[in-house]
Amino acid sequence: MALRKAIMNYTVRKFDAVIVGAGGAGLRAAIQLSEAGYKTAVLTKVFPTRSHTVAAQGGVAASLGNSEEDHWHWHMYDTVKGSDWLGDQDAIEFMCRKANEVVVELEHYGMPFDRLDNGKIYQRPFGGHMSNFGEKPVRRSCAAADRTGHAMLHAMYQRNVKVNTQFFVEWQALDLVRDAEGDVMGVTAMDMETGEIVVFHAKATIFATGGAGRIYYSSTNAFINTGDGVGMAARAGIPLEDMEFWQFHPTGVAGAGVLITEGVRGEGGILRNSAGERFMERYAPNAKDLASRDVVSRAMTTEINEGRGCGPNEDFVLLDITHLPPETIMKRLPGIHEIGIQFAGVDCLKEPLPVVPTCHYQMGGIPTNYSGQVVVPRGGNHSEPVLGFYAAGECACASVHGANRLGTNSLLDLLVFGKSAGETAVNDLKNSVKAHKPLAQDAIDRSLARVDRLNHQKDGADVHETRLAMQRTMQKHAGVFRFKDMLAEGVKRIDEIAGQVAQTQIKDKSKVFNTARIEALELDNLIEVAKATIVSANARTESRGAHVRDDATDTPETPDGRDDRNWLKHTLWYREGNRLDYKPVQMKPMSVDTIELKKRAY
């Protein structure tokens, strides 16, 4: 491979384990390894307590039963049902059974949970969490005021400092180092401060890089959520699982993505189309604007698609609270007024807010088992572990969320599977992986060539414009409500954009904190996620959970368009050839009976 000399320079650093990402999952995995005495490096783009886990406010689910009777089996039932039966029941049982343990551990790390008068952790109810197999809501969410994610990161970061985890802050991971046998021996990464490239040579590599919500134009995700680990895995030949499933929130501020809480409609907020019509009366005559998230999102999309959207591009609807007394808004909905002013340029006391269904959470990701090992089909087995490679949190697909995630299960996911991935890596280091496997030079060269191409590209595509084109295409063609022809057209369009991504050009060639270069490298990752999403969504001709298609018909055999006979299976997307494969859903739990298929109704 002909590489220019400047980029040929790299150094190699050896660790027992390298973890990419310092959000909840990465920090939890690191504790496990460092406590066991292994030399552990954590690479992170931003300071650990600036990870997007900070934005999680709702709490973490665990059937502690502190306020009323609860049981992990009930939690498991809710999670399987919430997943629309696409979640693997062994992984779901594992997660729900482990919940109490990881929450109590977190308490010992110093997490300031809200408490009851008797000193036990206070628990509150949350959507979809029920007692006695779906009977009535149960108090299961453990929180630390409205800063649960933030408090969690702090507690775990402090613990890591105590056990000597080595942090590499402001480092951009570039590529997985995977050899011809399919084994993983580390990552290539760039120090943002100097532009220096280092190969982190490790016996265990754990990805905890979070989701890729920035593939959509309207997203509640912070700018850092560019699916770096997911893109890296795809480039290294690892398939991506169930990427057609993205959770959308009905009311994000149009053009900005900032969430407007459901509480606004709870207080009497009304959705209106361009004619000023309260259109939810047509779609949900009883619940109207308070219908469930997916029903409201689909109705909004239909209004926009049928030409009744608002604004110069007719691409949003309005959330109207101007009929509510200003004192009610200011008292009961604090923050909404400021969000309207800051991000919509609208004083919501006088004018309605522009809103659109907005991408919130990635259910799919790098395929793993409940031990946190990355698994791929090989030799007739559809879930064979990749030696030396583990993943946890939003970047991974265990799969516990299946086609739709329940609130407060995301923080639980990152604690349980972060710990599990760390624990499995510790066991592997103790028992089977004694030495570093030699580095695969061709994988390193490919990674260097990718950076080299970017540094020297001439007459290429603009990063900002190309990213925007991808985001708009994903929003229009693979948004919350999906249409056969739009999906097919979207596949072609994203493929064209992928061609431009391969030719991106940066004007700034400097080495120190070159944000233009970082953004171009992030786009390389985002486009893999976008391709996986739209190709997988185009192929899945049913509706299930968050994947809703206009052409999936509601029949007795396919209730609400869900087609278990043909589609009760996980999608696997391979980057090479944009190819799809499938694997069965694990319907057999670890110890209890299968939670049998039925229509998902609340």
Binding site: K45, R50, A55, I339, A344, G345
Partner: protein
């Protein structure tokens, strides 16, 4: 822009990548408007604000909380004034 200043600004810009989308959006607009005119005093104030935790920073930017420090308060004002509403008024 000389290389030293460029490196400093680039570092500050990266530190504006936050955990909360609200702050990302505010800083995005801030840089569009102020990249060329940010002076040393402004840089220092921004640097101090970027040391804050995201929820605390957002509480200041959204006006729910205030600071006694006049330098910081001036920077918060700038962050607030780049809101779209300011353009409408």
């Amino acid at each position: 822009m000389d290389e030293v200043r460029k490196a400093r600004i680039n570092r500050l810009k990266w530190h504006c990548r936050r955990a909360l989308l609200e702050l990302d959006l505010v800083f995005d607009r801030f840089w569009e408007r102020y990249e060329d005119s940010l002076d040393a005093q402004g840089e220092a104030a921004l640097e101090s604000l970027l040391e804050l935790e995201d929820h605390d920073l957002w509480a200041l930017v959204s006006g729910r909380e205030a600071t006694d420090d006049s330098q910081l308060a001036a920077m918060i004002e700038r962050l607030r004034e780049v809101s779209p509403l300011a353009n409408f008024e």
